[in-house]
C-alpha cells in the first residue's frame, strides 16, 4: 500500500481504539429494558416475566382486548421468568417499563419499601369493588398504600390422578396418619407414593410452608417469615421432624429431577400424590387430562389449626417508580383488574384462577373449580416462602439448608442453628 504512510496507519489505529472505547460507554447509557422512549399518551410499556409461549399468548390476547377497551397500545418486553426475577433490582433502578409483572407478599413490600414502585391508589378507586378484603390486604404495603393489582392466583395443594385413585380404591386422606398410611399402601402397590422433585430447590419450600402452618399455625409461620428470629426453636424442629417421616415415600433420585419430571410421573400413574402449585401442574395435565387432575388440602396435623391455611401465591402488576405514561398505566391496570380481562386471559391459560370477583365459573375446568373451593374456604392465605420472606434470605439461605436436610435429615439441629445465625445477620443488615 504505497499511498498509505506509516503515520496514517497509526492515526487510524488510534482512532479505531477510541471508537472501540466509546462503544461500551454508549451502550451502558441505554436502559436495561430496551424500551425506546417515544411513549406518548397512547402507549404503555410492559415488563413481562412470561416469555414462554404460554402464558405469553394469553397476554397477547388480553393486550389486544385492552386496546379495544381503553385505546391504549401495550408495548410488551418479554423476559424469561427466572431471568426477570434475577435482575429485578437492577431493572427497577435502571430504566424500567411503566408496568411490570410481580408478586404479592413481602416480595412486593420489599421493593415498595425501597421506593422502587409507585402506589396505585387511584387504580383501586376504580377496581376496589372487584376484590375481597383478603385480596386488598395482600395488595397493600405497611404504609397503607396499594402497590399491586392482583391478576391471577393458584393454590398449592396435594395433587393426584383421579383415575388412579379410583382404580386402586384409594381414598383422599385428611389427617397426617391417614396420609402416611396411604403412602405406605401405595409403596406396597409398587407406586412412588409422593412425587417430590427438587432439582430447582424451590419446590421443596411448598412442603415446608404447609408442614409449618399445620403444626405451628399460620401466625407463627408468617412471623417466622417476616421476622426471621425463630428458626432455632422446637416448633421449627417439629416441622422438620414430620418432614423426615415423608422422605422414605419420595421419588427415587428426587434431588436430580425437575418438577416437570415429577408431574409427568403423576400423569403416567407411576406416582400417587404430589405437593405442587396448580400453576405448575396444570401445564402438565392439559387437554382431556385436566379432568383427571384431583386435588385435596394438605392433611391436618394439629387439630387446633386444622386445614384452614392455604398457600395461594398471587401474581399481579406493579407500576415502576417514575413511569413515562402514568395515566396510561393506571388506565391499563384498571382494565386488568376486572373479571372480564382475567377471564379472557384464563381462557388460554387454565392453570390459574382469577383474583377479581364475578368471573363466570361455568367456564372453569374441574381443577380450577376445585381450586376456587379450596381457596374460598381458607381462613388465611400464605404466599410461598420466597414471597413471604426477604429475597436475600429465601433463595440464598433456605434452598441450600433444605437441600442439606434432605441429604442428611439427622443433622437438622445444626442446620437450624446455622439458619438462625444467618437470618440474624441478614435481618440485622436492615433494608
Amino acid at each position: 500500500m504505497p499511498s498509505m504512510s506509516r503515520r496514517s496507519v497509526l492515526r487510524g489505529a488510534a482512532l479505531g481504539a477510541g471508537v472501540v472505547a466509546a462503544g461500551p460507554l454508549l451502550t451502558a447509557c441505554g436502559g436495561s429494558s430496551g424500551s425506546s422512549g417515544g411513549s406518548g399518551g397512547k402507549t404503555v410499556t410492559f415488563g413481562s416475566n412470561a416469555a414462554v409461549p404460554q402464558p405469553k399468548g394469553a397476554y397477547v390476547n388480553v393486550f389486544a382486548a385492552a386496546k379495544k377497551a381503553t385505546g391504549l397500545t401495550v408495548k410488551p418486553n418479554w423476559v424469561d421468568h427466572n431471568t426477570f426475577q434475577q435482575n429485578i433490582s437492577s431493572y427497577l433502578q435502571g430504566n424500567p417499563d411503566d408496568v411490570f409483572n410481580w408478586f404479592a407478599g413481602e416480595r412486593m413490600q420489599f421493593f415498595a419499601g425501597q421506593g422502587l414502585a409507585s402506589n396505585v391508589d387511584d387504580v383501586w378507586k376504580n377496581i376496589g369493588a372487584n376484590y375481597t378484603d383478603a385480596m386488598k390486604a395482600q395488595s397493600k404495603a405497611p404504609d397503607g398504600h396499594y402497590y399491586l393489582v392482583p391478576f391471577d392466583y393458584y393454590p398449592w395443594a396435594v395433587f393426584y390422578s383421579k383415575s388412579l385413585f379410583k382404580a386402586k380404591g384409594y381414598t383422599v386422606p385428611t389427617t397426617w396418619d391417614e396420609y402416611i398410611a396411604l403412602a405406605k399402601k401405595m409403596k406396597g402397590d409398587g407406586i412412588t407414593p409422593i412425587a417430590f422433585t427438587n432439582k430447582d430447590g424451590w419446590p421443596s419450600m411448598g412442603t415446608f410452608d404447609y408442614l409449618n402452618m399445620r403444626i405451628n399455625g399460620f401466625d407463627f409461620h408468617i412471623d417466622l417469615m417476616r421476622k426471621g428470629d425463630k428458626w432455632n426453636t422446637p416448633q421449627v424442629k417439629a416441622t422438620f421432624d414430620h418432614w423426615k417421616q415423608l422422605i422414605p415415600y419420595y421419588s427415587p433420585g428426587f434431588a436430580g429431577q425437575t418438577w416437570q419430571e415429577g408431574a409427568q410421573s403423576l400423569v403416567n400413574q407411576k406416582a400417587g400424590m404430589m405437593v405442587l402449585g396448580l400453576d405448575q401442574i396444570g401445564t402438565i395435565f392439559t387437554g382431556d387430562k385436566a379432568a383427571d387432575l384431583g386435588l385435596f388440602a394438605f392433611p391436618e396435623i394439629d387439630p387446633q389449626y386444622g386445614q384452614t391455611a392455604v398457600e395461594a401465591p398471587i401474581d399481579g402488576f406493579m407500576v415502576s417508580k417514575s413511569p413515562k405514561n402514568k395515566d396510561g398505566a393506571s388506565k391499563l391496570l384498571s382494565y386488568l383488574g376486572t373479571a372480564k380481562a382475567q377471564q379472557l386471559w384464563l381462557g388460554t391459560n387454565p392453570a390459574d384462577v382469577a383474583t377479581a370477583n364475578g368471573v363466570d365459573t361455568s367456564k372453569y375446568t374441574q381443577p380450577q373449580n376445585d381450586a376456587v373451593k379450596l381457596i374460598t374456604g381458607a381462613k388465611s392465605l400464605s404466599q410461598f416462602m420466597d414471597r413471604d420472606t426477604r429475597p436475600d434470605f429465601a433463595d440464598p439461605v433456605m434452598i441450600p439448608a433444605i437441600q442439606k436436610f434432605l441429604n442428611s435429615p439427622g443433622d437438622i439441629a445444626s442446620i437450624l442453628s446455622n439458619v438462625d445465625k444467618q437470618a440474624k445477620t441478614i435481618w440485622a443488615s436492615g433494608n
Binding site: 489505529a13 461500551p24 435482575n87 433502578q93 432439582k199 428426587f254 434431588a255 445477620t425
Partner: protein, 316 residues
C-alpha cells in the same frame, strides 16, 4: 503484557539519556504511540481495576444496592467473619474449585498433550480427528451443562437408561451431592482436553523437523526424541496451558449454573458471588467479600506467573 508496559509509556519529558531508537521517532509518532498504548491501558484500568478495587472497598460494607452511596453501612470485617463461620456453601465451594483445578491438571492437560502428539504424526484422517476432538471447545459451557443433564439425569438420562438404573436402584447422578460434581467434571474435562490439544498442536508445529531427524539418525527412539527434543521446544506452550488451566478452573460457572444454579454439591465461588450480587437478593457487601476472596486466590496464581515473565524479559 502491553498493558503494563503501556502504563509507563505516556511520558512528556523524555529521559536525558535518550535511547537511539526513540530519537528516530517524531513527536507525532510519539503522540500516536502513547495514544495506542494509553487508551487500552485507560480502558483496562476503568473497566477492570477500578471495579475490582471498588469491590474490595465494598466488601467491608453492608449494602443492598438500592439508593445512593449514603445508604452504605461500614461493617469492618464482619462479612469475612460470616463467610468463614456461618456460611455453609463457602467450604464446599472452595473445595470444588480446588478439585476442579486438580482434575484439570491431572486429566485434560496430559491427555490433551497425548492427543496432540498422536495427531502430529501425520496419520490418515488427522484433520477429521482434530475437528471431532476440537468440537466441544466451540460449544458454550452452558450448552455442555445441558448435555450433562441429558446424559446424567436420574430417570431420563442416557446412562441410567442404558444400565437399567432409571426405574429401580436409581443412581442420582445429578442430585447426589457426592456424585454430581464428578459428572460435571467429566463433561468439563471432555471440553478442556480438546482445548489443550489444540494449543499443543500449535506448539508441536513449531518444533524443527530437522532436529527430530537428527535425533533419529543418532539412534534415539520415539520416547527419547520426545523427551530431549520435543518437550524442551514446548516450554512456552506449557506456560500457556498452565495459565489456561488455572483460568478455566477459577472461572467455571455456566456449566453448574445451568444444571442446578450451583447448589447441592455443585457450589463454586463464582456462583456464590453471582447469587449474592446479581440475583434478587443483592447483598452487595457480602458478595463483594466473596469476590475479593476469589481475587486473592487468582492473584496467588497470577503474581508468580507475572514475576517469572518479567524476569525472563529482563534476561533477554
Amino acid at each position: 503484557m502491553t498493558v503494563v508496559d503501556g502504563a509507563a509509556a505516556p511520558r512528556t519529558t523524555p529521559p536525558k539519556t535518550k535511547r537511539r531508537h526513540l530519537k528516530q521517532l517524531t513527536a507525532r509518532d510519539r503522540v500516536s504511540l502513547s495514544l495506542m498504548a494509553g487508551i487500552p491501558t485507560l480502558l483496562t484500568v476503568a473497566f477492570v481495576w477500578v471495579p475490582a478495587l471498588a469491590s474490595i472497598v465494598l466488601s467491608f460494607s453492608s449494602w443492598t444496592g438500592f439508593g445512593d452511596f449514603s445508604t452504605i453501612q461500614w461493617v469492618g470485617t464482619e462479612n469475612y467473619k460470616n463467610i468463614f463461620t456461618i456460611y455453609p456453601p463457602f467450604d464446599p465451594a472452595i473445595e470444588h474449585n480446588l478439585i476442579w483445578l486438580a482434575v484439570f491438571f491431572v486429566l485434560p492437560a496430559p491427555f490433551g498433550l497425548f492427543l496432540a502428539v498422536q495427531l502430529d504424526k501425520q496419520i490418515r484422517f488427522s484433520r477429521i480427528y482434530q475437528s471431532v476432538l476440537f468440537l466441544p471447545v466451540v460449544l458454550s459451557l452452558a450448552l455442555i451443562g445441558f448435555m450433562t443433564e441429558l446424559i446424567f439425569s436420574p430417570t431420563q438420562g442416557l446412562i441410567n437408561n442404558l444400565t437399567g438404573h432409571a426405574d429401580h436402584h436409581v443412581i442420582d447422578w445429578m442430585g447426589n451431592p457426592h456424585l454430581n460434581i464428578w459428572a460435571v467434571m467429566i463433561m468439563a474435562c471432555w471440553r478442556q482436553a480438546g482445548y489443550v490439544m489444540v494449543l499443543f498442536l500449535a506448539g508441536l508445529k513449531s518444533v524443527d523437523p530437522s532436529q527430530k531427524e537428527a535425533a533419529a539418525l543418532d539412534g534415539a527412539n520415539g520416547s527419547q526424541t520426545f523427551r530431549h527434543v520435543v518437550w524442551p521446544a514446548l516450554r512456552p506452550i506449557n506456560v500457556v496451558v498452565l495459565v489456561i488451566t488455572v483460568i478455566e478452573s477459577l472461572r467455571a460457572f455456566d456449566i453448574v449454573y445451568v444444571i442446578n444454579k450451583g447448589t447441592n454439591g455443585l457450589e463454586l465461588l463464582s456462583v456464590l458471588v453471582t447469587d449474592n450480587i446479581v440475583g434478587e437478593a443483592s447483598r452487595i457487601g457480602f458478595g463483594s467479600a466473596l469476590a475479593t476472596i476469589l481475587l486473592v486466590i487468582s492473584l496467588a496464581f497470577i503474581v508468580p506467573y507475572l514475576i517469572s515473565m518479567f524476569r525472563k524479559d529482563e534476561r533477554e
